[in-house]
Symmetry: C2
Subunit: 433 residues, 2 copies
Amino acid sequence: MALVVVGGVAAGLSAAARARRMDPSLEIVVLEQGPTVSYGACGLPYFVEGRVREARQLIVHTPEYFRRERNIDVRTGAHVISIQHPRREVTLATGERVRYDRLIVATGARCDTSRMEGARRPNVFTLHTLEDAERMRGFLRDKKPRRAVVIGAGYIGLEAADALRRNGLRVTVIERSRNVLRREDPALTAAVRRQLEQHGVELVCDVEVRAIAADRVADVACDMVVAAGGFKPNVELAAEAGVEVGRSGAIRTDDRMETSLRGVFAAGDCAETMHTVTGRPVWIPLGTTANKTGRVAGANAAGGRKRFNGVAGTTIVGLFGMGFATTGLSIAQARAEGFSPVAARIEAGVRPRYYGGGKTTVELVADRATGRLLGGSAIGEDGAAGRINVIATALEARMRVDQFEQLDLAYSPPFATVWDPLLIAAQQLMKEL
Amino acid sequence: MALVVVGGVAAGLSAAARARRMDPSLEIVVLEQGPTVSYGACGLPYFVEGRVREARQLIVHTPEYFRRERNIDVRTGAHVISIQHPRREVTLATGERVRYDRLIVATGARCDTSRMEGARRPNVFTLHTLEDAERMRGFLRDKKPRRAVVIGAGYIGLEAADALRRNGLRVTVIERSRNVLRREDPALTAAVRRQLEQHGVELVCDVEVRAIAADRVADVACDMVVAAGGFKPNVELAAEAGVEVGRSGAIRTDDRMETSLRGVFAAGDCAETMHTVTGRPVWIPLGTTANKTGRVAGANAAGGRKRFNGVAGTTIVGLFGMGFATTGLSIAQARAEGFSPVAARIEAGVRPRYYGGGKTTVELVADRATGRLLGGSAIGEDGAAGRINVIATALEARMRVDQFEQLDLAYSPPFATVWDPLLIAAQQLMKEL
């Protein structure tokens, strides 16, 4: 039995490693088109910032490691140009063919700049691969740019803005939609805007960038540009082979991460998953999901029967020391999904006043008809990750607000208030139900 | 309609405030035997430490506030000595009688030193009321003691030890049982012991203190003693009136916090609650539970129909900057409750290595027969509260490990690892099931 994995970053290597654990005799080949595998893509902004000194610190394992320790044949510079599923073969750009019994497509996503004029200028960057980040870092060092425009206020765009600002640049973020972080959530957008502006980063929403001039983007003067918008799943390779693509634009999968072609699995940023709250297929490309879906795809490709439970879309972004975390649906998203949502938003101290400590903002969204929790957000210097994770756990459990309101959460003055802000928000929300 | 509440700290005042919201016309009297109401009892160790400068910072509201803003008659120095339920009356030590239609017993708990010889010496302290803490602080200032013994390694004892050590004293904690923090959990005890010893606090387990000599306790020389063991619920007043006491020794309640006498409710440290995991009555006195059960008792005493969902027993204690958090059952406790438990304990980084950050220890306990999560612990300088809260939420939802393993938890390098330590522990535990 031979397993071929296309893509050697988070999903691909999680899949390969899991398949190996399931079946020590499986022949496993990972084909990665880039020069590097197994790197922490989410760490790239921190390398640009300078906090991470060397790009190689982001590399988790080398191809040699996989060969030696896991008996997995990881090939870099291996660009797959087509899949011939009837013959169970993939073809590389070199013409070489690799046979498979099971195939995992983990081709990731890209920032699509193909329709943006000027995107190939030497001062225009994406922040997707280790090489992208090294090129950007080299530019910062050699050209000492003073003004940057970041196109796209998703998490990569905002983290890039933070990293560039910490390098002393003036930064403007230009976002196509009205809201940041791919979430229709005006309150969240307002909070992010406030934090950015307090740290000297300008945020411009509702402006679509169609062209990048030599010294400006959409009337903003700059000497470097980060293109971090217009993400698209890399589905072309699979689609040309007959794999079905879902309405989200990503590869359709079942709850075992198998595609419409039997024996072909998809995982990571190129694949759809099921949304925990709506039960519908979604495309929410995140590192956590890439690792989890890779693991499930790997287990099933090796003959296991592992189900993937879906995603709540939990994210957190750190901007100048403040955490902005969301999960599930915002009130606007919930409405668009056919719920009749109500929300409560509170600000509260994270510790008793006498102990000292900052504040946090918590929002909870629930369905008026059923009382079921649908989503929420947590913003704060302290504890935003822990709080959003509690909400995400409640979403997975399909918890109602009246149950959430009484959660037995930890309290001690150095860590929390006796009524955690989550519970205060839930009490508030109970009044709306 | 008249509501009388016996006890004016966490549970009593939560109950009174909630009852007032439910029914603006209710006559509400709160009878507190001490001189102060509505103080943050959990903050007392931080006042002893010196972090909280003034005792009055711990006071949330004054009796005047309750009278003026809430129309609640809060009387201090009002010592109730008996309840005559057939006549719906309580009698104060002064002989005064107060009539009620509904009664809420929120008499709290005490450190029972009645059978400990020498407990009334002037250098022996409890840490239960604001006055206790002020007396201890005065002693530290005036007598400049150099060696302290703390009797009892529950959370108050350990927090007192931390506070005294930070005041420069040599501190020995003597605990009657084999384990600390009222939890049969040798791994937790070992971790606490390590942290205490690294900060110069000695921990002696398995030693029962029967007498306090003038200058020593159980062979440990000292010039001051904190009695923080042998906690008992204050049930005598209610029991003498015919209220049923449960096997735990605390007042038996139903899920509306009503006692065996109709119209008499109990809340806070004197009352039993239902354990989320076992479904059995337990006595787990905690500030969080006091506030919650007070709120439920208050709502129901005012004619509402509010259910209390029970407790997982979630706690966190900070010792010299490290958080020790637990919830649900330890493996030994689970075994004693009739489960066939398995556990996994892992240590993992709280952030990616390239970003930097400490480690955390996470333990998860599950039932082999059903795969259901039964409890866990989280120890670390960072994120222990957030992680234990996720476990507590999963316990409330009766989640299985295979579901927990795929939770969509937040990830971004400044906040977490792509596989949160909770998920790594769950993966480990899946192998045991």
